[in-house]
Symmetry: C2
Subunit: 454 residues, 2 copies
Amino acid sequence: MERLSIDITKCMSGLDEGTALTPNMLEQFAPQLEKARRAVLDAAGTGMLGWMDLPAQDPGPYLDFAAECADKYECLLIIGIGGSALGTTALATALLPFYYNELSPGERKGRPRLYVLDNVDPDETVALLGRLDLSRTLVNVISKSGTTGESMAGYLVLREQLRTLVGQAALNEHFVFTTDPVGGALRKIGAAMGAPMFDLPPDVGGRFSVLSAVGLLPAALTGMDVRGLLAGAQDMADWIAETKGWENPACKFAGVQFLEDTALGRCVSVMMPYSARLRDVADWYRQLWAESLGKEVDRQGRTVNVGPLPVKSLGVTDQHSQLQLYAEGPDDKVITFLGVGEFDKTVTIPTPGPEAEALAYLGGHTLGGLLWAEQKGTAWALAKRGRPSLTITLPRVEAYSVGALLYLLEMATAIAGGLYDVDAFDQPGVELSKQATYALMGRPGYEALASEIG
Amino acid sequence: MERLSIDITKCMSGLDEGTALTPNMLEQFAPQLEKARRAVLDAAGTGMLGWMDLPAQDPGPYLDFAAECADKYECLLIIGIGGSALGTTALATALLPFYYNELSPGERKGRPRLYVLDNVDPDETVALLGRLDLSRTLVNVISKSGTTGESMAGYLVLREQLRTLVGQAALNEHFVFTTDPVGGALRKIGAAMGAPMFDLPPDVGGRFSVLSAVGLLPAALTGMDVRGLLAGAQDMADWIAETKGWENPACKFAGVQFLEDTALGRCVSVMMPYSARLRDVADWYRQLWAESLGKEVDRQGRTVNVGPLPVKSLGVTDQHSQLQLYAEGPDDKVITFLGVGEFDKTVTIPTPGPEAEALAYLGGHTLGGLLWAEQKGTAWALAKRGRPSLTITLPRVEAYSVGALLYLLEMATAIAGGLYDVDAFDQPGVELSKQATYALMGRPGYEALASEIG
């Protein structure tokens, strides 16, 4: 299979000295970059690096479970938040047909519609419940600890509805849990219910879990090419393991982003797919990059308050929303264009009539050609103003290339963690907000905090 | 009707001196703020301030057209991009039922499903065409000039498909155009076709056009409360006209954002709704704020390269994606929480069984109560770390409050333009990218540029 490519040449054309990366900068930085890559590879099998083992796993259990479920369910509801939802959403947008939930059962080949509940808005939740044929719904609750308040609230609501409808004894036909293999509240709940359970390995954090049961079980249930995803990820893993420094795709992405931020002051990392299918990959990346690198202290415990800001954008649409700022505003952004070599469909733009001469130049081109011209033209125009961009091009949007892309970005994040010298696998900054929520919800033990918040 | 509220107190509690707004700073800034407000109000009726007249307009023509269309169409397709699409999307998410397109015709009260084509991805476009019952589809093409390449490409594709299906003579039953009242390519096309047309006033820019035919015609066709939207906007306009300085809601928003950026170095403006209905208001705001304030030169022609970065976020979901960075990363962000006083639906969280004691604290609370606790807890936790936020609370999400919110943000943008001393109503920075696209598409007259791009 053809591999994706990364082009960083448009990071090397600033307007003034000190505004672009230079060959010399890259060369001087190469040893540090290689050291960061080496450190991640050498640490495989330790700490929170379990996601590095995922490409080589056997997807048989997911596929077997999906085969057992064939034609059994009209709806699949994922209850999860953050890393338990963003990966599935990214995969669904990239690999399921557009408007999937509006297709007929035949068009879906008997596979269930897919809903992701990743919020606790009551109006949205009621509307969602109204969409589900509950008697033919499978609910996949995903939480490592089983204590994620938002997801567990959703679980409790669904459990009650289902219990009323099908009875306690049949609940295990409607739930499947993805959680810690041993401990945690959800494991206990699943055991009590006698429901099927899949493991979220303890050494895989939520935002690195898309290639575990978290992402692959919903993928298998909706008929995505799970083996293709893993094969693409494995090929990327091999490529990263075999290639040093700036020739390495993960190093290239991480190194450029790091230097743009720390050496050139560009702290905003915009991910801008020129493909509707890849739009939610940008949202998944947003969590991966922000939560991994946004840290108060470095690995020596020094206060650093670092972290580039990942921004989700969409070509060509956001040219009519954000490009003005990218082109003329503060020079603090680096854009990553996500391009596609070949689309599935070809749509030729018809030639306009004489009443629309101004549009004659469009006639005979394809929509894909227009999209390509917009992407290339925008990258060129930004470079002309000294605004840097890099371009990742997927040959096609399919399971193999998407698996490769996701793994590339995971590895780049781990390497960037080394460059920033932060722990890329924790998230201590969300704890205070969780405790405040407990306090405001009247959880026993949080009375003092409740009165402090007032 | 109860008005929305804006609370800025959590911008006034920094960890160290110089990291928070102080009463003294606000007081010293009040004259400049009042001057900026006055300048906008005094300029009403001039330049590109036509959007200030929109709340008082008669929505009769939109409602009449919608009445004529009743039961006639199964699908409404909007073809537009940027300001021609984001407003409609924001209104639809806020005011139509969730999963609107999945509802039966009866549940939709005979009103059409709504699709917005705001990109040129060929795969997405083909999928969209597959969803439309073209013989019962009304296409609303929106472009001020009629030369927006992406929208016009979409128009040409749809025109060809419809011509094949219904014939040239019946095209005017399937198209309605929203464009410049006199000139431009789309006006000519509409006249040649004999299709109905609505005006996009010349003194209303795309990103300020949501309360013109651009947003209100789709709103009327899908049965939203158009009069309510305008009444809410008019009430906000009155409030802004009557109230000075820091008591003024638009001044409060614009002033805080400006001071946070220019006095305290917080250049990122995060809009974070705690309501699924308001999620796309944040996307609409993203264009409004970025394109209006992201400018290379000020009104004296000096190079300034200013512009805060608007970021769309979503509570509670993005607490599990972005909060880590907001809490621990660089202190360069100000969060605007968009809260809701009362939801339509009440969902009570059932009490968990003995197998899930850790979740007992959730039982008996409502989802709305949980959402409120998350929002309040997060604002408190951020403040505790010296990270500022402001909170806009809508009594309920309904046409009146949404109209008020949109108008508030438009006025705040105009006032902020004065504070930054930039032209908030142009977008010169996108021109070069457009020309590059023309060149790459082989448009006559752009040969030299094409060879420069290579």
